[in-house]
């Protein structure tokens, strides 16, 4: 049994003459969370749809749980859960009935289906609304019910297409916890998002898509290191000491630059160098520092650096 749960090779998808995906490759190991980051129209949903057998690729191949998404679609569908961008719930049915429906279709007996529905409604904090028809649910509740529906059969691989879009902060946090719990149980997750903090928090590896192409991939740390904006920000007690401080830092092999405020200095530091070098250089020059801070690059920097030039979401 292979440990790679999602494997895409050179996937291309063309709609008429629009290239939705160009030569996209991706590999996700068992129990990993892969984050797919990109603007609206970057091709995230198209990729999810191909991997979940909803859409055939124009060229390229992909396997999910070891099965080909084109020729073995049925086998793939037996092992995946999909939560699309828009909540798919039957508004006429109650929360319980929605989940029982999915469980029964997956082959559960009636009592087992009811039990599972109860479990999931508890997990997703919907137990109180279990008997109410879903059309009375709020947007967040629908989203949670939708997610619960995709987890009914404890799938090996879960595709979440912008699962927290439109959720309030509390629901968002709750959903993150559920995803983390799932991964803890060995589920593989492919998550698309426009939110960098979400990818940063959840994803083991991140693939950045822009205009249908992979423009970067790696762990959050790797991506940040590539963009490399780790820097030390200093504020001197005596602003007049700035020239001296700059000289001392240069002597220590750094490239300091004057910050905006009086007595402010910013100096980029490499991943290997340390805050200590800066502190020592200034200490030896007997310069007093009022404030010192190290800033790490955020995924926002990565995102902005990579996805530059692509139209921003409306």
């Amino acid at each position: 049994m292979t440990n790679t749960m999602i494997e895409a090779s050179n996937l291309t998808k063309t709609f008429d003459d629009v290239h939705a995906l160009r030569d996209v490759s991706l590999s996700v190991g068992k129990g990993q969370v892969a984050g797919l980051l990109g603007h609206n129209g970057a091709g995230k949903t198209t990729l999810v749809n191909i991997l979940s057998t909803m859409l055939p690729p124009t060229s390229g191949t992909a396997t999910v749980a070891g099965f080909d998404v084109v020729s073995q679609g049925h086998e793939v569908r037996r092992r995946i859960g999909l939560t699309g961008q828009f909540a798919s719930v039957d508004e006429q049915l109650s929360g319980t009935d929605n989940l029982v429906l999915i469980a029964r279709l997956l082959g559960a007996s009636k009592p087992a289906a009811k039990r599972r529905a109860g479990e999931l409604l508890d997990v997703f904090d919907l137990a109180e609304a279990a008997g109410r028809s879903a059309k009375t649910y709020s947007g967040g509740m629908r989203r949670r019910l939708d997610l619960a529906a995709s987890l009914v059969g404890q799938p090996d691989v879960i595709f979440l297409d912008e699962p927290t879009t439109g959720l309030d902060p509390v629901s968002r946090l709750g959903l993150w916890e559920v995803i983390e719990q799932l991964v803890g149980e060995g589920t593989t997750v492919l998550l698309t998002t426009q939110y960098l903090d979400e990818a940063d928090r959840l994803a083991d590896s991140i693939t950045v898509l822009a205009e249908g192409e992979v423009v970067a991939s790696g762990t959050a740390a790797e991506l940040k290191a590539d963009v490399g904006q780790r820097a030390v920000h200093l504020t001197l007690t005596q602003p007049t000491h700035r020239p001296e401080a700059t000289r001392a830092l240069r002597a220590a092999g750094l490239q300091p630059a004057h910050g905006g405020a009086a007595g402010a200095i910013t100096t980029p530091v490499g991943v290997s160098t340390d805050l200590a070098v800066v502190v020592r250089a200034l200490d030896e020059a007997a310069i007093e520092v009022a404030e010192i801070a190290l800033t790490e690059p955020t995924l926002d920097d990565v995102y902005l650096a990579l996805a530059k030039g692509t139209p921003t979401a409306a």
Binding site: M54, E75, R77, R78, D90, L93, L101, R104, L105, A112
Partner: protein
């Protein structure tokens, strides 16, 4: 790969969600049909609303046109309600068939079809279940209409209960066959508004340019020509002849044959359209 189409349910039914990897076709049909019917039970208002149109027609036509029964072209000895009711069964059944297509499009809109497509179930079982649920709904509708007609309007055709039941069965058959045509239109158009427009544009002239409300002989020549090639005329005539215990000739046979043809074409196109990516 030894997955069989009709795997026995017991084989798949375990209590561990991880082992739920698909159900048999019979279960799929049962569960999906039940789901559509459940929505109806939860919202009986819709059934009542869908009965309004045929009821209004029944009231209006039976009152407005009853004098037609005195004209020469009308079959002698037949009251207008007895003439009208078998036609109302057929036209109501056709209107109900359109609802199948609308229901399918609604499921596309609310994402349920997307959900079903991501499950290990057969795509045609989704369509078949929808048409079966609508068949049940239509049966209930037509039965309510029949009872109303008997109780309130004195519908008592000479064919007796047997004749009425066979007329009902024929109307249901036509309705079921046509529901596949509307499922096909729905799975290609994927838009409830255009569905309704297409349905209305097609059905309204078909209903009036037929023998449904007045005998063909009473129609202007050109309209009579249209009515003679209108398939609805044949369905209505067959239903009426059964209810009124008049000689059916080949009417019933041709209605069955036409329904079978519509069913085949509709089912083929519906499954094809349904498989197109959403």
């Amino acid at each position: 790969m030894t997955t069989t189409l009709m795997s026995p349910e017991t084989e798949r039914t375990t209590t561990e969600p991880r082992d739920w990897r698909g159900s048999g076709t019979a279960t799929q049909l049962l569960v999906l049909t039940g789901r559509s019917l459940r929505a109806l039970i939860n919202e009986p208002r819709l059934v009542v609303l869908s009965l309004l149109q045929p009821l209004i027609m029944l009231v209006l036509f039976s009152q407005v046109f009853s004098s037609i029964a005195q004209t020469d072209s009308f079959p002698p000895g037949v009251s207008y309600i007895n003439y009208l009711m078998p036609a109302i069964l057929v036209t109501t059944g056709i209107g109900a068939a359109m609802q199948s297509g609308i229901g399918l499009v609604t499921d596309m809109k609310n994402g349920m079809l997307g959900r079903f497509r991501s499950l290990p179930i057969k795509s045609w079982s989704v369509l078949l279940a929808r048409s079966l649920a609508d068949l049940v709904r239509t049966s209930v509708q037509l039965t309510i209409l029949l009872v109303t007609a008997v109780v309130l309007f004195g519908f008592s055709p000479s064919g007796g209960i047997g004749g009425v039941l066979t007329a009902l069965a024929l109307a249901l058959m036509v309705s079921w066959a046509l529901s596949w045509v509307f499922l096909a239109i729905g799975s290609w158009l994927r838009n409830a508004e255009s569905m309704q427009q297409v349905g209305f544009l097609a059905m309204f002239p078909l209903m009036f340019a037929s023998s449904a409300y007045v005998p063909l002989d009473g129609l202007p020549v050109w309209l009579r020509a249209v009515a003679t090639v209108n398939p609805l005329t044949y369905a209505v005539d067959a239903s009426r002849n059964l209810a009124l215990a008049m000689p059916v000739g080949t009417g019933v046979l041709s209605a069955v044959a036409a329904s079978a043809a519509l069913l085949a074409v509709g089912a083929f196109a519906a499954v094809r359209g349904f498989r197109k990516p959403l």
